[in-house]
């Protein structure tokens, strides 16, 4: 029986993280499709998705054999590193310390890069285009795979988390295919901030459980942790914005 107090944040994290990563991958897929048509773009994307699915299917059963406390500790620490890293970066973007992700600029740069590659090499351009799409989906998808495994493995939620990621994939690719331009209006940084908050909360929760902590309120403690990371992230962004403004004056 699924505990929804744990499943909802797990599925939500997988869904939102997937939206962020797939929007980034879609920009490159679209650049490939614009230059060489949808065939190499779809083939490269499908091959990468198949490889990512194979990684999840291979790692899932293996993780069941690891003792629960050790698994929680390792995954918890990795989640802390990954989650706080995302939170740091999105707080800095929110504060204007580093620039926001610009999908239009990335699309233009990737299109120019592909054109340059085609001129430089003698290999079939369809092959280069397919490999480019494959690499984009594989690299962005690795983060999604980690999140699915990290939030799903500790409580047998691999399938629900995978479904959350697949739903995001279907949503972004459908919208992207209809709109047929980079999805620059998706509030990527806000989503990334939200995912960073949830992953950091999961990180503290799993690491604590791995060290033998029994959190008061059990899974509900996740919501308190998330609220604290949200408040701290916003405070950090605000302090950083003030610091940068003072420097500019």
């Amino acid at each position: 029986m699924i505990e929804w107090s744990t499943a909802a944040p797990a599925i939500g994290s997988a869904f939102l993280a997937s939206v962020v990563e797939i929007v980034e991958a879609f920009t490159i897929i679209l650049a490939v499709a614009t230059l060489r048509g949808w065939r190499p773009a779809v083939l490269g994307t499908a091959a990468a998705l198949a490889l990512l699915a194979a990684i999840v299917l291979a790692l899932g059963p293996l993780l069941d054999r690891v003792p629960l406390h050790a698994l929680q500790l390792v995954i918890g620490v990795l989640l802390l590193l990954f989650g706080i890293g995302w939170l740091r970066k999105s707080a800095l973007r929110m504060a204007g310390v580093i620039p926001l992700h610009d999908e239009e600029a990335i699309f233009a740069a990737e299109t120019a890069h592909l054109g340059e590659e085609a001129r430089r090499r003698e290999t079939s351009l369809d092959w280069i285009a397919g490999i480019t799409a494959f690499k984009a989906v594989l690299l962005e998808g690795l983060e999604v795979v980690f999140i699915i495994i990290a939030v799903g493995a500790g409580r047998g939620l691999l399938w629900p988390a995978s479904l959350g990621a697949l739903a995001a994939c279907a949503l972004v690719l459908s919208v992207g295919a209809v709109v047929h331009r980079p999805l620059s209006r998706v509030p990527e940084n806000t989503l990334k901030f939200g995912v960073g908050v949830m992953l950091s909360a999961f990180g503290v929760f799993w690491t604590g459980e791995g060290l033998g902590v029994e959190w008061p309120g059990a899974d509900l403690a996740l919501f308190l942790f998330a609220a604290l990371f949200l408040a701290t992230g916003l405070l950090a962004a605000s302090l950083a914005r003030t610091s940068v403004r003072e420097a500019a004056q």
Partner: protein, 78 residues
Amino acid sequence: MTILRDVLAELFGMFVGDARLTAAVIVVVGVVAAMIDLGDVPPLIGGGVLLVGCLVVLIGAVLRAAHRQRAVAASQTT
């Protein structure tokens, strides 16, 4: 080979994008583990230290990057 190298670089960047942040998180977890396992501190107190430690690490990492940016901006104006 390029793809494999890019995959390894991506995996490394996922967890060690900021080396100081990575080191700080590992130190916090190590201190909490030592408190609980060696210091006989109640696990829940250790959990509280873990939570607060991670929040402090987050603020420290953001402010450090902002101060670095501020120093770069100051050096460009002089």
